[in-house]
C-alpha cells in the first residue's frame, strides 16, 4: 500500500473518537432508541479532566451522550469505598439507570458484585478483566482494552525518533499491566531500532505528582531523549519532559496539548467502541456480552494523532505496526529473556491476548530497571 493511503487511514483511525465507526453505528442506534430510553450511569475514581485514565472514559461518555435516546449521568472523585456502591445505587434509585459503568479497578469486589446481586434488572460493567463466569452474577461483566498494543506502537515510533537510543519510562507499580506496557515499548522500539533500551523508574503509587516529576527529570539526566509513562495522570511527566526539551509518548488519554514541541504519539483507550456497543445492544433488546477484552483487532485502543516530534519514517512505521496489530500480529515473539537473571521467561510466541501474558512479573532484557 502507498504512503498516502496509509496516512489517510491513520488520520481517520486516530481522529479523536473514531468518527468513522461512530457514524456507521449511529443509524442503527437511532432506530433502536426510538422506542426505549436508556440511562447510563458512570462513576470515575478521579477527576474527569485528569489527562489520564478518567479523561479517557469521560471523552467516550461525552460522545455517548450524543446518541439519541441515551441519557448519561456522571459522578467523579468517587473513592473505592462504600461511597461507590451508594453512588451506583443512587443512580439506579434516583436516576433510573439501567446500565452502570464502574471504571476503577477497586470498584469490582465487593461493590459491583454485591450490587449486581441486589439489582438483577440492572446491567453492571466494570473496566478491568475481573468477571468470573462461575462465581459472579450474570448481569455483571468486564471490559478492558489491551493498551500495551498502543504502547508497542509508541515504541515503534520512539525507536525511530530517539537519537540517543534511550527511552525513559515512568511507571507506577510493578504489576502485570504496567510491566506489559514497559516490555511492549521495548519490543516496539527494538523492532525499528535494535540498539534501543528502555530505562524505567517506579514511583510506587498511581498518583505521585512530585515523584513523577523527579523520575522524569532523573531519566532525562540519565540521557533518555524520549519519555513515556504509565501513571494515572501523565500530565506531570509529559509537561516535565517538554520543559526539559525531550520528546514524549502519552498514556491513557491525549496529552498532545501538553507537549506542542516534543509529542510523538500516545497510547489511548477507545472506550467509545465498547460503550456504543452496549447502548445499541440494550436498545435492540439483546443481552450484553459479559466479557469484552481486546486491543487494536477490535478497535478498543488507539494512538493519539502524531505530534510535532514524530518524524516521517516514525509515522510510517507506526501506522504499519497498527495495521499489523489489527491483523493480530503478535508482540511477544519468543523466546525472550528477562533482564534480571537472563532466564527465558517467554518460551514461545504468544498471541496478544494470551492469558499467559497477564501473569507477567518480569522486565525483558533491554529494559534497565528492576521490579523490586
Amino acid at each position: 500500500m502507498s504512503v498516502t493511503e496509509f496516512s489517510r487511514r491513520g488520520l481517520l483511525k486516530t481522529a479523536a473518537l473514531g468518527v468513522a465507526g461512530a457514524t456507521l453505528n449511529l443509524g442503527a442506534i437511532k432506530r433502536a432508541f426510538a422506542a426505549a430510553d436508556l440511562t447510563v450511569g458512570i462513576v470515575y475514581v478521579g477527576a474527569r479532566d485528569d489527562f489520564g485514565w478518567n479523561q479517557a472514559h469521560a471523552v467516550a461518555i461525552k460522545s455517548l451522550k450524543e446518541v439519541p435516546g441515551v441519557k448519561v449521568v456522571e459522578e467523579e472523585n468517587v473513592p473505592e469505598t462504600d461511597a461507590v456502591s451508594k453512588s451506583m445505587e443512587s443512580m439506579i434509585n434516583l436516576d433510573g439507570a439501567g446500565l452502570i459503568l464502574a471504571t476503577s479497578f477497586g470498584y469490582y469486589t465487593p461493590f459491583v458484585v454485591d450490587l449486581a446481586k441486589k439489582y438483577p434488572d440492572v446491567q453492571f460493567r466494570h473496566a478491568a478483566p475481573l468477571w468470573n463466569q462461575d462465581k459472579d452474577p450474570k448481569n455483571a461483566g468486564s471490559y478492558f482494552g489491551y493498551l500495551n498494543q498502543a504502547h508497542y506502537v509508541n515504541g515503534v515510533a520512539a525507536g525511530l525518533c530517539t537519537k540517543k537510543n534511550k527511552i525513559g519510562f515512568v511507571a507506577a507499580k510493578p504489576i502485570a499491566s504496567v510491566l506489559s506496557n514497559i516490555n511492549s515499548v521495548l519490543l516496539g522500539a527494538r523492532s525499528t531500532n535494535p540498539n534501543a533500551t528502555v530505562q524505567v523508574i517506579f514511583t510506587g503509587d498511581w498518583s505521585m505528582p512530585v515523584r513523577e516529576a523527579e523520575a522524569a527529570n532523573a531519566l532525562v539526566d540519565a540521557g533518555c531523549d524520549v519519555i513515556t509513562c504509565h501513571v494515572d495522570g501523565p500530565k506531570v511527566v509529559i509537561e516535565t519532559a517538554e520543559k526539559r526539551g525531550v520528546m514524549t509518548c502519552g498514556h491513557n488519554a491525549s496529552q498532545a496539548p501538553l507537549a506542542p514541541k516534543g509529542f510523538i504519539t500516545g497510547a489511548e483507550y477507545k472506550w467509545i467502541t465498547i460503550y456504543k456497543g452496549y447502548a445499541s445492544d440494550l436498545a435492540e433488546g439483546k443481552s450484553l456480552p459479559n466479557f469484552l477484552i481486546g486491543g487494536y483487532e477490535v478497535d478498543f485502543v488507539q494512538n493519539t494523532p502524531f505530534g510535532a516530534a514524530a518524524t516521517d519514517p516514525a509515522k510510517k512505521a507506526a501506522l504499519a505496526a497498527i495495521e499489523g496489530l489489527k491483523a493480530k500480529k503478535p508482540i511477544y515473539v519468543g523466546p525472550l529473556k528477562d533482564n534480571a537473571s537472563g532466564k527465558i521467561v517467554i518460551d514461545k510466541t504468544y498471541d496478544n491476548l494470551d492469558p499467559f501474558l497477564d501473569k507477567m512479573d518480569y522486565l525483558l532484557q533491554g529494559v534497565v530497571g528492576s521490579t523490586t
Binding site: 456522571e74 473513592p79 461511597a83 445505587e89 443512587s90 443512580m91 434509585n93 434516583l94 477497586g106 469486589t109
Partner: protein, 380 residues
C-alpha cells in the same frame, strides 16, 4: 462564695444571684445561657449557606435547586436517608477521635492514621482465624485489636506531647502518613493476597465473617456503635471523675498539675480513647464494607472527622447530628454532580464555607447580652 458573705455585707444578689425567683426561673436562665451554643452555630450555618448561595449564583446555578437536591439526595427518600446514615457512621467515630483529646486541650488530627492501621490490624488478625474461629469470636477479637492498635497510635502522640513536649497536632498528622505507609508496606508485601494481582490487598475475610446490617435497614452496625460510644463518652467526660480531671487539665494545665492530677496519664488515656474510636472505624471499614484491608482504607474519613468534631464543638452528643448533616451533604454530592452538572468539589466548597464561618463565629461567644441573665447584665 463559701466565705461568710453576710459578714462582709455583700449585696444579696451575690449570695443568691437569682434572688427569690431562683426556683421558678432556673430553667429559663440555663436555657438562655445554653441557647448561645445552639444559636451561634446555627447563625454561622445560615451565613455559610448565604455565602455559598452567592457562590452558586456567581457560577450561574440556582441555590434553590441545590437545596432541593441536597434534600432529595441526602434525606428525602428512605434510600437517601440510609445512604446518609451509612456515610455518617465512620465520621461519628473519627469525630470522637478529635473531640475527646480536645476536651483535655489537645488538637489531635491523627484519626486517619489510627483508622487505617486499626482496619489493617483487624484485616491481618482475621487471616489466621478464617475458617477456624467462630465468626462472633473472630469479629470481637478483630474489633478489640483494631481499637488497641488505633489507641496505641494516637496514644503515642499524646505521650510525646506530655513527655517530650512535641506538638501533638503535628506529630499525630505525621504519624498518619507513617501509619498509611506501614499498611502499604505489608499489604504490598508479606500479607498480600496473591490471587489479586492488580490491587494489593490482604486476604478477603469472607462473607461469613462480615459484620451485617442493622436489621430492617441498609446501614451497617458501625453506625449503632458510633451512637452508643457518643453517649458513653459523653458520660465519661461529663459525669465521671476521670472526665472532670480531664476537663480541668484542658482548662488549666498548670492548675491541674498543682492539684496533683495525674496529667500525663490523663493525656495518654484521652489520646488512646481517641485512637481506639478511629481504630474501631477502621475495623468497620474492613469487616462491614471492604472485606479486606487495602489502600482504600485511607479514604479521608479521619480528616472529615476533624471538621465534624469542630462543628460539634467537641461535644460527643452533638457529633451524631453534625455527622449526619455532613453525611447527607456528601451523600447528595453525587446527585448534585449528576443533575446540576457541577464538579465534585462543589460540596467541598460548601464544607469550606461552613468551617471558616464557624471558626470565625467562635469570637462571638459572650458578646451578646441577650444570652445572659438580667442580673448578670445589670452587673456588667
Amino acid at each position: 462564695m463559701s466565705n461568710t458573705p453576710f459578714a462582709t455585707g455583700a449585696p444579696r444578689e451575690l449570695i443568691d444571684p437569682l434572688g427569690t425567683r431562683a426556683g421558678s426561673s432556673d430553667f429559663a436562665v440555663r436555657l438562655r445561657a445554653n441557647s448561645e451554643y445552639v444559636l451561634i452555630p446555627l447563625l454561622a450555618l445560615v451565613i455559610a449557606a448565604g455565602l455559598f448561595a452567592f457562590f452558586l449564583m456567581a457560577i450561574g446555578k440556582s441555590p434553590v435547586d441545590f437545596v432541593s437536591y441536597v434534600w432529595r439526595g441526602g434525606f428525602g427518600t428512605a434510600f437517601s436517608f440510609q445512604n446518609t446514615l451509612q456515610r455518617s457512621a465512620p465520621l461519628i467515630l473519627t469525630a470522637l477521635a478529635v473531640a475527646i483529646p480536645a476536651r483535655i486541650g489537645l488538637i489531635m488530627i491523627g484519626g486517619e492514621g489510627a483508622l487505617v492501621l486499626g482496619g489493617f490490624a483487624a484485616g491481618a488478625l482475621a487471616i489466621p482465624m478464617i475458617g477456624h474461629a467462630p465468626p462472633m469470636v473472630a469479629l470481637v477479637l478483630m474489633a478489640l485489636f483494631a481499637m488497641i492498635v488505633g489507641g496505641f497510635w494516637v496514644g503515642f502522640s499524646g505521650f510525646l506531647r506530655y513527655a517530650r513536649g512535641v506538638n501533638e497536632t503535628i506529630s499525630s498528622l505525621l504519624m498518619t502518613y507513617i501509619g498509611i505507609a506501614i499498611m502499604n508496606f505489608f499489604v504490598e508485601g508479606a500479607l498480600r493476597d496473591l490471587s489479586n494481582p492488580n490491587k494489593p490487598s490482604t486476604m478477603p475475610i469472607g462473607d461469613a465473617y462480615m459484620v451485617g446490617k442493622i436489621p430492617g435497614t441498609q446501614v451497617h452496625w458501625g453506625f449503632a456503635f458510633g451512637l452508643a460510644l457518643c453517649v458513653a463518652l459523653y458520660f465519661l467526660m461529663a459525669r465521671t471523675t476521670f472526665g472532670f480531671a480531664a476537663r480541668v487539665t484542658g482548662g488549666n494545665f498548670r492548675a491541674a498539675l498543682a492539684q496533683g492530677l495525674p496529667v500525663g496519664r490523663l493525656i495518654v488515656a484521652c489520646s488512646a480513647i481517641a485512637g481506639a474510636c478511629a481504630g474501631l472505624a477502621g475495623f468497620f471499614e474492613v469487616a462491614a464494607i471492604q472485606g479486606r484491608a487495602n489502600a482504600s482504607l485511607a479514604a479521608g474519613y479521619g480528616f472529615t472527622g476533624i471538621l465534624v468534631s469542630f462543628l460539634a464543638r467537641h461535644n460527643p452528643l452533638v457529633i451524631p447530628p453534625v455527622a449526619i448533616l455532613l453525611g447527607g451533604l456528601v451523600a447528595s454530592g453525587g446527585l448534585i454532580q449528576r443533575r446540576m452538572d457541577l464538579p465534585d468539589a462543589t460540596v467541598l466548597v460548601l464544607q469550606g464555607f461552613i468551617f471558616v464561618v464557624l471558626l470565625t463565629s467562635e469570637t462571638l461567644y459572650g458578646r451578646f447580652a441577650i444570652f445572659r441573665s438580667t442580673k448578670e447584665r445589670d452587673r456588667t
